[in-house]
Chain length 463, copies 2
């Protein structure tokens, strides 16, 4: 995949004329843009460009199309399935310099940003407005990248994923046209839902250059809690009963004992190293207290210990930072490892069964495999710690992943709850979607007949 390509000098000249110093063909820059957080081998693009505007992206796309050159959009490179790897060469469009916040409309509870704005940048910008943008994948990803991957995070159980929180997108199409996918009203029945079609399209249907997202009033009260359980099933059962009771919990994350051990070592915390729930309640002061009391009762009935509270903002931030760092913490459990991460998501009724069976696989594995996830959504991750140059490790990891994915698909679940397809998950789509996959291919052909938009990803011809 990582073959050396002849540089198309007229292409580079045209891009240089357009962008000057904001074009790079240096090895270092290309290599940085030829990898993500996954274990896949480098696949650097032929050139990297750094546009500042939708118009520049349009011009770049037009130049690339004339030269029949693939186009790979790039945010900050935190994807986990090889989304940004230039497996067919081409030009990487690094959108990180498109980092302007275009409008924050407090009355409408929305904001429009250039695609390179990160979630933390947006939240920092609106810090004094009383509003927040709650979608939080572990990494400080760009909003363009989060939209492209249909990302979510710990708040999805209450606030939804990028699917529910993108209001409109500006997109540069393969033919150079620039479209807005929707108006700014909260709902509309005016035609096909192009917004949702581009959310999750991973750069394969066009380049997202601007994103309008929903914002939320920061709740009057927020309170987080940590609760240990003697087994993971009790933790998950607590979450299921909480949801069925209609308690509007904001976050409910389960972490296995191994993950808690990794977090303690990495984040210098001293949590009990047992299966654990991290919980958060949002609402009025009285509402939060009431929710917490109800969930505590449910947890107790399922073998949960007393809640440890984190109510002050610093304490809560420390707790959630530890949760977000769980992935990196786990990587430290075994020296020199990379991670193969599973990302299945199943209907809640099957979640205990799915996790318990997977815990059996983990016990039989030769490497440490921490397990944690967004159990309120039915989504969990196994972080398989592999030495990427060790064939036995890689074979075992692939077989493990395969078992977990097949298990989830057999339970009416999905191979990826939030990481996306990239090229790493393409092989599962026939089993997951059946004939519907042909329809996805038809959309790809209609939008990108030349197969230039992030080719070889999601549903492209080459698997």
């Amino acid at each position: 995949m990582n073959q050396v390509r002849e540089l198309d000098t007229t292409l580079v000249e045209a891009l240089r004329t357009l962008l000057g110093e904001r074009l790079s063909t240096s090895r270092g820059v290309r290599e940085h843009h030829g990898k993500d957080e996954s274990y896949y081998p480098y696949a650097p693009p032929d050139a990297v460009v750094f546009p500042h505007s939708t118009e520049e992206v349009r011009d770049i796309v037009n130049i690339c199309r004339l030269h029949r050159t693939p186009i790979i959009p790039f945010g900050v490179g935190t994807s986990l399935e090889g989304h940004v790897l230039a497996i067919h060469g081409g030009v990487c469009i690094d959108l990180s310099q498109m980092n302007q916040i275009l409008a924050v409309r407090e009355a409408d509870l929305d904001a429009s940003v250039q695609a390179g704005v990160t979630r933390k940048q947006l939240n920092e910008h609106i810090r004094h407005s009383g509003l927040m943008f709650p979608i939080d994948p572990g990494a400080d990803a760009t909003l363009g990248g989060m939209a492209a991957t249909r990302a979510s995070g710990t708040n999805a159980v209450r606030y939804g994923t990028m699917r529910e929180n993108v209001i409109a997108l500006t997109v540069v199409l393969a033919d150079g046209r620039v479209i807005k996918t929707a108006r700014r009203s909260r709902k509309s029945s005016a035609g096909y839902d192009l917004t949702r079609l581009f959310v999750g399209s991973e750069g394969t249907l066009g380049v997202i250059t601007e994103v309008t997202v929903r914002l939320y009033a920061i709740p009057e009260a927020m309170s987080a809690a940590v609760c240990s359980f003697k087994d993971i099933a009790g933790a998950v059962e607590t979450v299921i009963q909480t949801l069925q009771s209609g308690i509007p919990i904001a976050r409910c994350e389960a972490l296995c004992a191994t993950t808690m051990h990794a977090i303690n070592a990495y984040s210098r915390t001293n949590y009990t190293e047992q299966p654990t729930l991290f919980l958060e309640f949002h609402g009025t002061q009285a509402g939060v207290e009431e929710q917490a009391r109800l969930v505590q009762e449910i947890a107790h009935a399922n073998g949960g210990m007393a809640f440890q509270w984190a109510t002050r903002a610093e304490e809560r931030n420390k707790l959630w930072q530890a949760r977000h760092d769980a992935y990196f913490a786990c990587l430290q459990l075994r020296a020199g490892t990379r991670c193969v991460s599973t990302d299945v998501c199943v209907p809640i009724s099957r979640l205990i069964e799915c996790i318990v069976q997977t815990a059996g696989d983990i016990e039989r594995a030769s490497m440490p495999i921490p397990l944690f996830g967004h159990v309120g959504d039915g989504n969990f991750h196994c972080v398989i710690l592999v030495r990427p140059d060790n064939e036995a490790d890689m074979a075992e990891a692939k077989a493990f992943n395969e078992r977990v994915v097949n298990r989830a698909l057999d339970m009416e679940g999905t191979c990826t709850g939030e990481h996306g397809v990239g090229f790493g998950k393409m092989k599962w789509l026939p089993k997951e979607h059946g004939a519907a996959l042909d329809l996805m291919r038809a959309i790809k052909r209609a939008f990108d007949p030349g197969d230039l938009m992030n080719p070889g990803k999601v549903v492209s011809r080459e698997a």
Copy 2:
């Protein structure tokens, strides 16, 4: 549009062989299926079929395709923009006999139904489960029709629209293939969002035969209130401030004085005939009381009178039935009239301006035009009462509608918040979507190259 077509006897024979008595070419049945709740003239199909299963729908589609005959899906005929009118003739697929509830999964908070199940039927079925399906367009529409129209209703401010509440669809495509648009997990990043593409496609991309929807725990406490205001702006301002405060209000509907008058006459109620909010709070007992107290304070500051409460289920049902009947109540204000309904939706920050300017139009109109709507979503309706055979009435109604739509589009809004496009709103899509409309056409061509799926609606070649 309503031309008489030669019946294709081999087509009818093939359908009769498949369906026996569940095929009708009688004038009465065809005329019943050639209209909806709109003021548009009848356009009856050539034949009406009543399948019982996805497989029968597939066979019908295959027969129609062989005979190059248009296919129009039909639920209960409550659409408002001519969605179901057979403007190019063809076979109407009446899905009302596909009314089986296939599964209610209490643990997963979801249900799967055949497309002909109505929202009230589903709620009646799950009455004892402690769950509810909250999406409530005024009519008792089918879930297939609601999905196809991307319907919403009074609960959308809290629970979302069909966009947020459809988990998966079974769809018969134009080429006879049957697909499932998604797995049953709550979230997924596995490829393009086909579910959202079919939600709102109005039968133009395929025939929806089964729908899996989200259910919600019935809140511990529900309390509704009625509050009069001296002007509509105060009512709308109350809603805006409520949303900005993050109060999770379940319903907030504004109704003008004329609408209140119509409701009193139709539903034998005695509400104050002034601009009014109908509100509802869902939560725990304490939570509902707290929400209600906060909103009462906001309303008072905006010129609202004291809340009249409806807490018992019968009182609440009576109140919301009156709200749902507002459309029919308004039709009684002027004998022999039909209704041209506007359906714009704008960002909340522009809503007062949009409504106040529209109220000016209403004052200058020659006919009564009640105004009411889902102000929490930015969506409101003007019910223009016309005598359909009176040219002056129709010209005035069209000009009124045009002014309101242009006003909404100029405010970054949409021509239709929830009624859909049908053929009545097609002329607005170029202004609303610009170049994005071409992308919708590309999808239509890719999914339905023969233009047989509800042709002439949404984005079809003929406007």
